[in-house]
């Protein structure tokens, strides 16, 4: 089963890289860009056909390693 995980910074965490990307887009003439937040994307291949079990493992993987719960949130998608 293929799983993707999107990791984003929590709302109240400063994202200086996102700010610079935002400003650069503005400098390039994209005046309608209101905000940019940078995150991470993981593609995970799991040898597990039971969706419930896969979900449980994926959540565990995210919480134990892929994200830092102090500063980040995540979302999981199944393919």
């Amino acid at each position: 089963m293929k799983i993707s995980a999107i990791v984003t910074l929590k709302k109240d965490v400063l994202d200086p890289q996102g700010k610079v990307v935002n400003q650069t887009l503005k400098n390039m003439g994209y005046d309608n860009v209101a905000n940019v937040r940078q995150g991470k994307y993981f593609e995970i291949e799991l040898d597990e056909s039971n969706e419930e079990k896969a979900k449980k493992i994926a959540n565990e993987i995210c919480k134990k390693l892929l994200i830092n719960t102090v500063i980040e949130d995540y979302k999981i998608h199944f393919k």
Binding site: D12, V13, L14, P16, Q17, V20, L65, N68, V70, I71
Partner: protein, 224 residues
């Protein structure tokens, strides 16, 4: 006093701290991260560097190393643990200290000497700073911007668990004297038992009058 310096792939201050410990007669041994048993030690040091290439998050992969369980047990039994720079990042990822270390606010790697105010004198690492509360240590980091939710920062302040704050040469703690954007100018914190210290600046690089001064010596002298 016996110490163990844990070496990870990418550690690059491990030998500096070993030199510092030896200089102050602390019997040190180097311990590879893949070891499962922590040798009998009074002090465990997690050195600076770029463990595992800073992959995923700084200190994250190192915090899953085999030796970490031994360090957690050592810390929970009241054993001394010192995490410097990348070592501080590893302590946070291992859950021994709260919060997170984000990229420096201005996205620049910082390498310079900074002034620090010693804000907790009631721990073995800082006892010696009674008569010298404004000190100078080198910093060299890209991810030293200490962040935690408001309630944790308040807890650290209320319980006096902040060991060092960035300041200017007169001891003024403000935005101008904050090199990396850390909450409340935090440069180093203690755990509740005050036996675990994590800090971004490098005391081991301040033990020789010819190199960045000797303010770090006070910390090591006091450990013996």
């Amino acid at each position: 006093m016996k110490s163990s310096v844990i070496v990870f792939p990418g550690s690059n201050c491990d030998r500096d701290i070993a030199v510092a410990l030896n200089k102050f007669n602390i019997k040190n041994q180097m311990v590879w991260h893949d070891e499962t048993v922590l040798p009998k030690s009074d002090l465990v040091v997690l050195p600076g560097g770029f463990s595992f290439g800073d992959y995923l998050r700084t200190g994250c992969i190192a915090s899953k190393s085999k030796i970490i369980e031994g360090i957690l047990n050592h810390a929970n039994k009241g054993g001394l643990v010192l995490g410097i720079c990348n070592g501080f990042q590893i302590l946070i990822e291992a859950g021994l200290l709260p919060g997170a270390l984000l990229r420096n606010k201005k996205l620049k790697f910082l390498s310079k000497n900074v002034y620090l105010k010693v804000t907790n004198l009631e721990n073995i690492f800082c006892l010696g700073y009674k008569n010298k509360k404004i000190i100078k240590f080198p910093i060299a980091h890209n991810e030293g911007n200490y962040f935690a939710k408001e309630s944790i920062i308040k807890d650290l302040e209320d319980k006096n668990l902040i060991a060092f704050k960035y300041c200017d040469e007169n001891g003024v703690v403000n935005n101008e004297s904050n090199p990396n954007g850390s909450s409340n100018n935090i440069a180093g914190i203690l755990n509740a038992g005050k036996n675990v210290l994590g800090l971004m600046p490098h005391p081991e690089r301040a033990i020789d009058p010819l190199l960045s001064g000797i303010d770090g010596s006070i910390m090591f002298k006091n450990l013996i």
